[in-house]
Every structure is written in C-alpha cells, then in structure tokens.
C-alpha cells in the first residue's frame, strides 16, 4: 500500500521533471564558463600548436624539416655552395599554411631549434595567397621561442 | 448595414460556389474556410457571439483541418491528372434551385416569425399558445440581461434538452462505429 501511494504521489508530482529543472537552475545561477575571446586574451596551453615560427637567422638549411613534413608544406632553398661555407642561412624558405596541419613533425628533427610552433591561431585570411609565407613575409617572435625554451628548461628541471 | 449584409452574403455564396466548382481540392478548402469566417461574421452581426465563436472553433479550427489532412495525404499528382468534369453539378444545381424556391415560397407566404420557438408552431390550442407566449415573454425579459452564452445554454439545456441529448447519443454511436471500422482486428 505505501508503494502504491508513493507511486501515485510520484505520478502526480513528477519528481523527475522537478529534478531536471533543478539541475538547469543550478547552472543558471553559477558563474559562466565563457571566454570573452576578442576582448580578453584566451589562456592557451603551453604546448599549443599554432602557426610555425622559423628563425631564419639560426637556420642552417639542412632541410630536415622539409623531409619530415608529411604534407610537403615546407620548402627550403639552401644558399649557393660558396655562400653556404660561410653563411648557412637559407636563400629562400617557404611555409604554406594552405597545407600545414600543425602536426609538429618538423619541430623535432630541427638541429638548431629554428622552427617551432607559436601560440598564434589568428590565421584567417580573405585571400588564399596570403597563406603562403616566404623568408621575407614570415613573421616570427623570439619571445615565444624563449617562452618555449624556458618551458623546456622547466620540464628538464622537474624530471630528474 | 444592409449593404454590408448583402456583400457578406454574396461573399459566402461565392465561397460556397468556389467549394463546389474549384478544381483543386485545396482551393475548395480555402474557400470553405473563408465561407466559415463569413458565416461567423454573419452570426456576430446577429449578436450571436457564442455561435460565431463556436463556428470558428469547431468548423474552421477543427473539422476543416481534418479535411486538409485528408487532402494532403491523398496523391495529389494522380488527382491532378484525373480528368474532372462538373457535369454532375448541373442536376444538383437544378435540384437545389427547386428546393430553394420551394422553401422560400413557403416561408414568404407563412406567418412564421423567427422569434417564436418551433414548439409554438406545433400547438393548436389557443390558451396553451397564450400561456407559452407569456412564459417566453417572461424568459425574454429575464434573458435581456443575461449574456449570450447563458441564453444559448438556456435554450439548449431547457427547451431542447431531449433533442440535444439524443444528438449526443447519436454522435457517441457514430464515434464508436468509426473506431470499430478503423480498427484492423477487433
């Protein structure tokens, strides 16, 4: 009999619906989780794989990144042999964001650490051509590199 | 007011014609809808607001939607390809015309006034008629302040209680019959 009564009360009062409403109301009252992107800078993880940055000054034109790239989006033109003996910087360096899938395979083989990911994600363009970067148009930011190096130092310090 | 009445009646008549003569069933339904609304306005003009509201609620909002259902679920292409004639319409039109003329003639030459309930016409004894007329006059006086739905209720559940109940029983039987017919295995 109490079971039947209980069932009747449940049939009339709909406790399930009430608990559902309570859950949504709880979230209504809680602070929101939204990030205000254009107004506030998003807090990105340390290892965000943003646009590739290349430090042309330290690059030695070894073409390891070009070989590692699964998408063939990197093209390195080493300088002429006579120049290469003294100055190993590439004559031309292309990165095509049209193809880059931000996999990071080019970063690991680089012997000088010249190519690395940045935190830059604002890459949208009106024009497809603007996604091809060369030596002149390839912007890079040393601070980010240092930031990442600092991070690596930290990691090395932590792991014995 | 008369001009308005004539226009409204014309509209209703045209819509009724449209229902019968339209080739596309959906046009028929639309003109039926407009006809229903016109009839409702006519009721409103006669100060029968309750009947007007019920007319819209039941006929336009309920039954006509079911008609539309039927029309939409039928194969429209096949319907459009079927050759349609309105030959049947002519004998029906003649019949309706004859009926209309006969009823009109009878009404025109009778002393029937719409204020009297039908029961009054069935009585033969003059004293009974007088008593009933007195009672009706009293009720009319009382009903002067009553609202329209109340007056309808008084007629429906007073004077015409038995026909009303009989009609509801009939409808119930019809509903049961429809359920019985529609059910695949009883």
């Amino acid at each position: 009999m109490p079971g039947a009564l209980n069932r009747l009360v449940r049939m009339v009062t709909f406790p399930e619906l009430a608990s559902g409403l309570a859950v949504t109301f709880k979230w209504f009252r809680k602070p929101k989780v939204t990030e205000f992107y254009p107004d506030a800078r998003p807090v990105l993880p340390y290892r965000t794989k943003g646009r590739l940055h290349v430090e042309i000054e330290t690059c030695i034109s070894c073409r390891m990144c070009e070989k590692a790239c699964p998408e063939d989006c990197i093209k390195v033109y080493p300088p002429p042999k006579e120049v290469f003996k003294t100055d190993k910087r590439p004559a031309q360096f292309y990165i095509s964001l049209e193809h880059c899938i931000h996999c990071g395979m080019c970063v690991d083989p680089c012997p000088t650490g010249s190519i690395h990911h940045s935190m830059e994600f604002e890459l949208a363009t009106y024009n497809k051509d603007e996604l091809l970067f060369n030596k002149e148009t390839l912007p890079y930011d040393l601070a980010i590199k240092h930031f990442r190096q600092g991070l690596l130092e930290n990691v090395e310090q932590k792991s014995p | 007011m008369t001009i308005g009445w004539i226009l409204l009646s014309l509209m209703i008549a045209l819509c009724a014609l449209g229902v019968v003569l339209a080739r596309s069933p959906i046009s028929s339904a639309i003109s039926l809808l407009i006809g229903f609304v016109g009839v409702a306005i006519l009721y409103l003009a006669l100060k029968a607001e309750f009947v007007a509201a019920v007319q819209i609620l039941v006929y336009a909002g309920g039954i006509l939607v079911l008609y539309l259902f039927g029309i939409m679920l039928t194969d429209n292409e096949a319907l459009r390809l079927t050759r349609q004639t309105h030959l049947q319409a002519w004998p029906v039109f003649v019949l309706i015309l004859v009926l209309f003329l006969a009823v009109g003639h009878k009404l025109y030459h009778s002393d029937y006034t719409p204020q009297q309930p039908a029961r009054l016409l069935m009585l033969t004894d003059q004293s009974q008629v007088q008593a009933l007329q007195n009672r009706l006059a009293q009720e009319a006086g009382a009903a002067q302040h009553a609202t329209n739905p109340q007056r309808v209720a008084r007629v429906l559940y007073g004077d015409y209680l038995y026909p009303f109940e009989a009609a509801s029983v009939l409808l119930l039987v019809a509903v049961l019959g429809a359920v019985f017919l529609a059910k695949k295995d009883v």
């Binding site: 619906l17 559902g20 409403l21 859950v23 949504t24 109301f25 979230w27 209504f28 809680k30 929101k32 989780v33 939204t34 | 959906i26 639309i30 809808l33 409702a40 607001e49 309750f50 007007a52 509201a53 019920v54 007319q55 819209i56 609620l57 336009a60 909002g61 309920g62 939607v65 079911l66 539309l68 259902f69 939409m72 679920l73 609202t147 329209n148 739905p149």
Partner: protein
C-alpha cells in the same frame, strides 16, 4: 479633437488602441526572442548575445532587418499564391488574440487597457488561436517539398490534439469564474489566484500551451534532426520572419492568457483595487500593468526554463500524453470543479 464624438468613440479610439497595442506587442515579441536567447545562454552556462548594442539589446532589431532584407525565394515546386499568403494566416491570429487581453485595470471610462471587452472573450481567443494552424498547414503544403509537408502534418495533428485538453482546462476556469469575459475572470481572482484551486488545470494548461505553440519539448514540427526545419523549411527572408514573429507572438499570448486565467492578472491578492482605483486611477492602472508584466515575464521565464531543460519527445509519446494523460486529467478536473460548484450552489 473631440474625444467624445461618436466617431471617435466607436472608430477612432479603438483604432488608436489597436495601433498602439500592435506596436507594443511587436516590440515585446522581438524582445522575447532576445530574452530567450539570453536566458538559454545563462541556462547553458554561457552568456548569450551580448555584443550588439548594450547587453545585446539591438540583436532582435538586427535580426529583423536582416531577415527583411534577405532574398525572398519561392521554390519551383511551390504553389506561389498559397506560399505567399500562408505566413499571413499564421501571423494574423497570433496578433488578433491580444484584442481581448486585459492588461491593467481601466483608468477611466475611455482609458481601459484592453481593446474589446467582449463577453465571449475566452471563446474568441480559443477560436482565433485555432485558426493559427492554417498558416502552418498551408505553408507546409504549399512549399511543395516533403519535409515541410511532414512538419505541417505533425504540427496540425499536434495542435488539434492539444487543443482539446487546453480547452477543457480553460473551461474549468470559466466554470470557477462564471463568465467568459477575461476581466470578470480576473475580478474573480481578487482574493486567491486560480492557480491554487485549479492547480491541475494549470498543469494541463502549461503542458498543452507548450505543445500548442510548438515549443520544446514538444517542438516536433521543426525537429531539426528528422525534418529539416519543419513547415518553414522552404521559407526565407521576410516570410520566415513572419513565421518567427507568429511563433513568439503566440508564446507571449500564452503567457498573457496564463497570467489572466491562473495567476490573477493585474491583481495582487487582498489589495482593494476598486477603492484605490477610484482615488488614483492612473497610478493604480500603471501599477496593475506592472504587476501584469511581472507575472507574464515570470511565466515566460518558466517557459524558457522548460525549453532549456527537457529533451524533445517522440511523436507517438507526444500524442499519447495528449490523449491518454492530459485529456482524462482535464476532464476529471472539469467534473470536480463542476461538482464543487454545484455543491456550493446548493
């Protein structure tokens, strides 16, 4: 201008009121959309539109203007005439229903806050809102495409099914108040809103009103996962805006009617409005308007809360709830109310 001339009394004043009411209702409907989007955002732990104007207040205007400026496509398979007029069939009943809603106590003999004091008010409302289904059915059929057709068929059968319990729950209110006039019904709730004695009818009303306006969790007609957009799949631009407007106007209407029927309208319980009204007519009227607005917005909040909480029902479940649960409950409630009323008369 002579406000007492018969022309002004019979034509001018009602026309003025109608124009004002249409403007106000259109404004309210636009900001109902804004409110819904903001509140849904809050329920989902986000913020909702907040960048277009202060707190996103220009958002509905931007949406409306954009929709009006969009290209108006009439599909090849559509029936052009019906396709064009169908949204009008949806919008007109939604707005016409506001004619009998009493928003506030009258501040004077000619300063009442309702357009028509018809003595069949509620019946008129039920009749007019039952016409709204034509806009949906005809629009879906005239589109000449299968998804709108299915959406409109679903919508029509859903609206027909839920009109019955809705009417029965409203009938119990009429029985309690003893009148079809909305103002009488509000007057009858001077001491106690009908929400308390007619809680069952209120429940039935809320559920069937949600279903009548095709809103979640009963938004079967526009179930995106099954039918692309329901009956308005093929509509674009201004005609779609009309459907949008009609849907939200219906929501606002349902809120206003629920406020009048169950929440006591512009009345605060135990506040002697009549004596106060005689002393300060305009102040009391405006307070009544504010009370009405607060109650209506509270009901709207509940409406949106429901939408933010419950998932969509399956179609057979929907019809089962309508015919097998709500209809018996509302009938039982009606019989109960009638019995109590009869016992009180004796």
């Amino acid at each position: 201008m002579d406000w007492n001339s018969p022309f002004m009394l019979t034509v001018g004043l009602p026309l003025l009121k109608i124009v004002i009411l249409l403007g106000v209702v259109a404004f309210c409907v636009a900001y109902t959309v804004w409110l819904e989007r903001r509140l849904l955002g809050f329920f989902q732990s986000r913020v909702g539109p907040n960048r277009v104007g202060p707190a996103g207040l220009i958002q509905p205007i931007a949406d409306g203007l954009k929709l009006i400026l969009k290209e108006d496509i009439i599909p090849t398979n559509a029936r052009p005439f019906l396709f064009r007029i169908a949204p009008i069939f949806a919008v007109v009943p939604a707005f016409a229903g506001f004619a009998i809603v009493a928003f506030a106590p009258p501040a004077g003999p000619r300063a009442s806050f309702l357009i028509s004091d018809a003595n069949i008010g509620i019946l008129y409302l039920l009749a007019i809102t039952s016409l709204g289904v034509f806009g949906i059915v005809l629009g879906g059929w005239a589109s000449g495409s299968k998804y709108p057709l299915f959406g409109s068929l679903r919508s029509a059968s859903q609206m027909l099914s839920y009109e019955v319990p809705l009417t029965f729950s409203v009938l119990s209110v009429i029985l309690m108040a003893g009148s079809f006039r909305l103002d009488d019904i509000i007057q009858a709730q001077g001491k106690l809103p009908f929400l308390v004695p007619l809680i069952l009818a209120f429940g039935v009303y809320v559920i069937s009103a949600v279903a009548e306006t095709n809103r979640a969790p009963f938004d079967l007609p526009e179930a995106e996962s099954e039918l692309v957009g329901g009956f308005h799949t093929e509509y674009s631009g201004m005609r779609f805006a009309f459907y949008f407007l009609a849907e939200y106007a219906n929501v606002v209407l349902v809120c206003c009617v629920a406020t009048s029927l169950f929440l006591g309208g512009y009345k605060i319980p135990f506040l002697p409005y009549e004596t106060l009204l005689a002393a300060h007519p305009w102040t009391v009227s405006l307070i009544g308007l504010a009370v009405f607005a607060v109650k209506a917005v509270a009901f709207l909040y509940f409406y949106i809360w429901i939408r933010a909480t419950f998932p969509r029902y399956r179609y057979d479940q929907l019809l089962k709830i309508g015919w097998k649960v709500l209809l018996p409950i509302s009938l039982l409630n009606l019989l109960l109310v009638a019995g109590i009323k009869l016992a009180m008369l004796r």
